[in-house]
Amino acid sequence: MDTIHYLGLGFGVALTPYNLITAFCGTLIGTIVGLLPGLGPVNGVALLIPIAFALGLPPETALILLAAVYLGCEYGGRISSILLNIPGEASAVMTTLDGYPLAQQGKAGIALSISAWSSFIGGTIATIGVVLFAPLLAKWAVAFGPAEYFVLMVFAITCLAGMADNKPLKTAMAALIGLALSCVGIDSNSGVYRFTFGTLGLADGIQFIVLVLGLFSISEILVLLERTHHGHRAVKTTGRMLFNLKEGAFVLATNLRSGVVGFVLGVLPGAGATLASAVAYMSEKRMASKDNQFGKGDLRGLAAPETANSGAACGSMVPMLTLGVPGSGTTAVMLGALTLYNITPGPMLFQNQPEVVWGLIASLFVANVMLLVMNVPMVRIFTRILAVPTWALVPAIAIVTSIGVYAVHSTTFDLFLMIGIGVCGYILRKLDYSLSAVLLGFILGGVMEDNLRRALSLSNGELSILWGSPITLAVWALVGLMLAYPIFRAVRARKSAQLLIAD
């Protein structure tokens, strides 16, 4: 019953008018920052820390502000994915797959509102998870060593194969391009520069933000220009702004499953939110009946990644609070902020400063509710973006994208690289390659390589470390299941077809 007592204490902190206003400002700023392609939660939080500090906010208020900004960015990130096909950050890549087609069909309002709703459910499930299982989950996070991470990435890549549909070869090629790109830069194991061609601009590899904005934003600009040239008009904005009860019920099971997936994977430091949204999307797609519309605007395909990445965002607070280890880039920045306030996160935090921890947890609930309430009326405003004529939209995207890239790393090299990648992205798009597969290959490939090499350096080259623990075995079993399931389904489909003929 301690938990309830502490949670009450937390709400006492979070619901003071001052903290409520702070949370509101945070969610609003976060949504706007997240909306801008290129600026994600890391930047939002990093920008606000000096402000929070300068305003002399007490630690719990500052933490509430930062958490609200974090969640707000995750909310805002989906807006450009859905409306413009430009994911603002890694975890929003999957959102483009079904979100953008929905917007193209004139259902932007429904897509936005249902994704807000999904984010809300994901966030809520994960926050409840944090309340109930935080200390237990710390153990789960620690149990994941290099070998376990590697196998998990194998699982994720197997899931990726589900994206293949009717063009498995092209998807595989795209993923391989992503894997190849992830090899650029300093080799984390030996410290050798790889494929940098003597440019220090590539020393840390290709920055994710440069790749994503090049592939999606620049190529989208080129596509828009091409359409204008052909005299094609942009999409009309029609239809309802809010999803109805039937649509809500249709995605509810997806929401619940993906929320749990998101939370559990979000707790693992590293690829958290991106991995979670990819796994949630793919498993929902496999589970869906044969006549699904995944990839062409299925509501479940939108709900799954959105629920999962919000869940993961909340889940990534667990290792930060319980172990003092950042679960994501954003929580790393938040950890820095805590140090400025002279608070040491870790197991002692729950005992020494419960008002900070529980205030934060309670404010996650509050921020989630606020975001939902704030986002739904704003859907109408956001969908106006679609009504912007191409001649105004293209320069605007170009400017915001360039600022995003430049502001983050302050080098012009990245701008040129982004444009180069953008042109390649446009060509790939014309050849009908999946750009999301390139991105996922890039993200997962990096983590996968690092962990494989870590595992093998630890085992002195023995491959057996890759199936040496119960967790690795369990994940391998899941991989097997993922591979076997389509075969099983094909066999069953053939059998029932034979039965039909026999009848």
Binding site: G201, G324, V325, T344, G346, S457
Partner: protein, 327 residues
């Protein structure tokens, strides 16, 4: 002719006007601290210390911006300053021992330690080795004996690649044990705290780190075996013995500080030095540093140049010994 004088005069007039607005005489305009990394982590922290310290002690009127320029553990920022942004009087760049190590190993491209002006240090940290609380290793000697018997018997995790900071701390130990560092089972984790998680999850037996990291991990079930400082550290880590006490002469300090562009004028450099000297003389700021796991260290001017040169030289020798210097 007239236009020339006017154009010469105008900035001066503006500067004078700005100067009269600023209470701090000669304060460089647009103060900025570049953290040559992503947000979060040591460089960011170093910049934040300057930002908060100078503001709280009213040594700087205009707000200091912190910007991020990641790439090659400081290489990208170092090159930007040495090549293009040579005379920006308001721009400080954070550096650490890791920057000097990479500089020494030739990873900063064509520039060497003489390409920038070293401003001041703000603090220092020291290398450590840590194990789980229930580990059979109780002293540094236990580890060395185990390494002597079989260098592959211990799995080690550290932040950074082979040849980097994390690795050097165990390589020095291996050298003391008379073992080839290449024989070690070392896994490179991302900086920060990932290797401590691997330690807690029993994926590695020993981790290399630093005193501030150990303090950040308090509450987790880990135990520091050694600190690579000359004397025992003050405060919480006073119970951790130095390597010297345990019979091995290994030291691994990790200084933190700031440098500036090569063409920044002497008077601006002096202004910053004076500001940091005032800041560092404040008791309150000393405490502030210690609370944030940084041990105060104020070296500046020629002494800092000598220190930097010496460290780079030491690192270079070490790199040659281990065959790490890039051509």
């Amino acid at each position: 002719m007239k236009t020339v004088t006017l154009s010469k005069f105008l900035p001066l007039a503006c500067a004078l006007m700005l100067g009269s607005v600023n209470a701090q005489a000669g304060e460089p305009s647009r103060p900025e601290c570049i953290a040559p990394s992503k947000p979060g982590g040591g460089f960011d922290m170093t910049c934040k210390l300057a930002q908060a310290g100078l503001k709280d002690h009213h040594l700087l009127d205009s707000p200091m911006r912190v910007t991020y320029m990641p790439g090659g553990i400081g290489a990208v920022a170092y090159n930007a300053i040495a090549a293009n942004r040579r005379d920006e009087s308001g721009t400080l760049i954070a550096f650490s021992g890791a920057s000097l190590l990479n500089l020494a190993l030739g990873k900063y491209g064509r520039y060497d330690e003489n390409s920038v002006q070293w401003l001041t240090t703000i603090g220092t940290d020291y290398g450590t080795l840590a194990v789980r609380e229930d580990s059979p290793f109780k002293t540094l000697d236990d580890v060395i004996q185990a390494l002597k018997k079989d260098p592959k018997s211990i799995t080690v995790g550290g932040g950074g690649s082979i040849g980097g900071q994390g690795w050097a701390k165990i390589a020095l130990l291996a050298k003391a044990a008379g073992v080839d560092p290449r024989e070690l089972r070392y896994a490179a984790f991302e900086g920060g705290a990932e290797h401590y998680m691997a330690l807690m999850g029993k994926h590695v037996d020993l981790v290399t780190g630093s005193a501030s990291e150990i303090r950040a991990q308090r509450g987790n079930k880990i135990r520091a075996l050694v600190v690579y400082s000359e004397e025992r550290l003050p405060g919480e880590l006073a119970s951790v013995p130095t390597a010297k006490e345990q019979g091995y002469d290994i030291q691994w300090p990790l200084i933190r500080g700031y440098y500036m562009g090569p063409e920044v004028k002497q008077e601006d450099l002096d202004w910053w030095k004076a500001a940091f000297a005032k800041l560092q003389s404040s008791e309150e700021f000393q405490q502030y540093l210690q609370d944030r796991d940084v041990l105060p260290l104020n070296v500046t001017g020629q002494a800092l140049n000598d220190l930097v040169k010496k460290q780079v030289e030491d690192y270079r020798k070490l790199g040659e010994e281990f065959g790490l210097v890039a051509e």
